[in-house]
């Protein structure tokens, strides 16, 4: 089973997101993450869904998404070159002794410290899934208190190759 990143353009109106989420639960498809926001056009929202499934399941997901009247366009980015990002906020326990090491880790990962208190730090990180996972692994020995993740957003690359 392969992870697929599916980008969906949908009418930016009442109930449209519900139709998409409802489709996944009604038909038993899995959602790893979903993120929603307006696109370049105010009347259109872009929904980015990460889902796992065999090829025929993914094919059905795309067909069923296309069948929703409010859905304007569906693209499975998986087979294209695409840029993906996720934003994550991690609140980690910190004290006088651990704070310098945490700040070093933050620097190595090029993340930002956005909140600080005597007993904790909150780190804001963006990046692809692997970077976020690695960061979480590095931070967990210090004691992660809370994590908030946006889910993946993605756009197709216009130039093939690396940027």
């Amino acid at each position: 089973m392969k992870k697929h990143t599916i980008s969906v353009l949908v009418e930016n109106k009442f109930g449209a997101l519900n139709r998409i989420v409802g489709l996944f639960s009604a038909r038993g498809y899995n959602i790893d993450s979903i993120s929603v926001g307006t696109s370049e056009d105010d009347s259109v929202a872009r929904v980015t869904i990460v889902s796992k499934g065999d090829d025929d399941v993914i094919e059905q997901i795309i067909k069923q998404l296309n069948k929703i009247i409010d859905v304007i366009k569906v693209v499975d980015l998986t087979y294209d070159s695409f840029v993906e990002r996720e934003l994550v906020l991690i609140k980690v326990s910190a004290n006088r002794n651990t704070r310098p090491e945490l700040m070093q880790i933050s620097e190595i990962f090029r993340t930002k410290i956005v909140d600080i208190s005597p007993k904790s730090l909150t780190i804001e990180a963006t990046g692809g899934e692997q970077k976020v996972q690695a960061l979480i692994k590095m931070l967990s020995p210090f004691g992660i208190k809370e994590i908030a993740r946006t889910g993946r957003i993605a756009l197709k690359r216009e130039f093939e190759g690396t940027i």
């Binding site: 519900n18 489709l23 094919e59 296309n66 069948k67 304007i72």
Partner: protein
Amino acid sequence: MSGAEMTGSEILVRCLIEEKVEHVFGYPGGAIIGTYDALHDISSIKHILTRHEQGAVHAAEGYAKATGKVGVVIVTSGPGATNTVTGIADAYMDSVPIVVFTGQVASYMIGNDAFQEADIVGITRSITKHNFLVKDVKDLAWSIKAAFHLATTGRPGPVLVDLPKDVMAATAPFVYPKEIKLRGYHPYYFGHMGQINKAVEIINSCQKPVIYAGGGVISSNASKELYNFAKKLNAPVTMTLMGLGAFPGDDRLSLGMLGMHGTWYANHAVNDCDCLIAIGARFDDRVTGNTTHFSPNSRKIHIDIDPSAISKNVKVDVPIVGDVRHVLERLTPLVKSLDTSAWLNQIDEWKAEHPLRYENGDEIRAQYVIEKIYELTEGNAIITTDVGQNQMWTAQFYKFKYPRTLITSGGLGTMGFSFPASIGAAFGVKDRPIFSINGDGGIQMNIQELATAAWNKLPIKIVILDNSYLGMVRQWQELFWRKRYSNTFLGLSNPDFVKLAEAFGAVGFRSEKTEQVQGILEEALKINDRPVLIDFKTTLEDNVYPMIPAGGTVAQMMDYPKSVHELSQIQSNVEAVK
């Protein structure tokens, strides 16, 4: 452009007139009174008051299936709306074009748990093709036009429009949009020429073709095109339950229905064929059984308007997305006439060896009743069925010759469908006799509609195949659950159906002997100013054969047992399947 200023209720009625709606099925209530008031003076629209909202939706489905027009329903908010849910789900599964208007509490009360409030748009999201909550009277006409557009185009289906009370009381200028453009909705009708050519290659080189036709042939009005295609290919045609009538059931090329209770020869033909042409069908589990063993030797072509129906259950070699009628029009001239005489002879042999059969006796057999109805109506009647044994026997023993003459609940399998659906059909079609076939269980699920049928003097023949059981469930209990008849015997608790019919103002007959069946049916056919209910007391414990157990294969098909010995063999086979 600006039109005359009107209330939302008046706009709704004007939209119905624009859509040339002649019949509306419904039930009034608090949140929809305004619309009923606006409807009161409109003589071109007949409102049929059913006795339950579920009855209204099934009637609208029956109307739509019989006529090809849109079935329209108007109900109130809350319980009125939730009572439509089963009918809407039924229409969704069987792709029936209906538009359901539900009243709603005032828009500023929504979410307040107001009296008779239900989130019907949320509830029906997964069982409608699309639905709308109209929040501004200025959007009303557009939403209604869009609802009719969506219900009837592409793969048809139910659309719901939710109408808050204050929106319907507010006013706006009435302008009916000429066309609807939806940027996310572009049904594709014509079929890709490259795919059609690939299909032609397969067809022209096959020896043992089978056409497997479904309800899509009927909803796209493609019976004539299917007939020409099959005759040119000399290919036998089997039909799904929803497809019966798409091809004449009395033609040599017809194999009748396939699947779980399909004919022996249809299932064997599908199993042995080298080219399976699926047309407007969706490889439902009741058709395929075990999908890995379904039609194992064939190359498969699938024509369907819904891309998501393709390769959903069974992988096909050549999918063609498009409207069945358009695709057949382009495909037929390209295929060559095949010499299938050896194949057809083989099938004729199967037909002779394994016909549909039953043994007649003193006790009335349900199969016999259906055969008699077929003989007396010469296949010209519209038949609605309920779900279960009555449905399967009708599908097997009434040789449907014309499209839109079988009206049945296929996908959802809704008990209580037959009778209200026949009411809708009776309003839509005046030149065919109308029979509603029921079991003694299902008829009681919407029996209140006797009032609707009697009040409107509809000449429906309501047939009850009364075996005192929920027969299909009992059959499964007999075959798969050691004859433990848990909660399936109704015999002692059933009402006196004849008296019940009379109480509602219909005619009631009862028949307990085979020799009476024909006479009573003839008598019933003479009555044309009232519904007639006939309670046929049939054999109590009878089974539908052939039968392929759920998820089974053709090799596990049980044909009608010829002897006690065969019956015990069937039971041991069933044990093996378990």
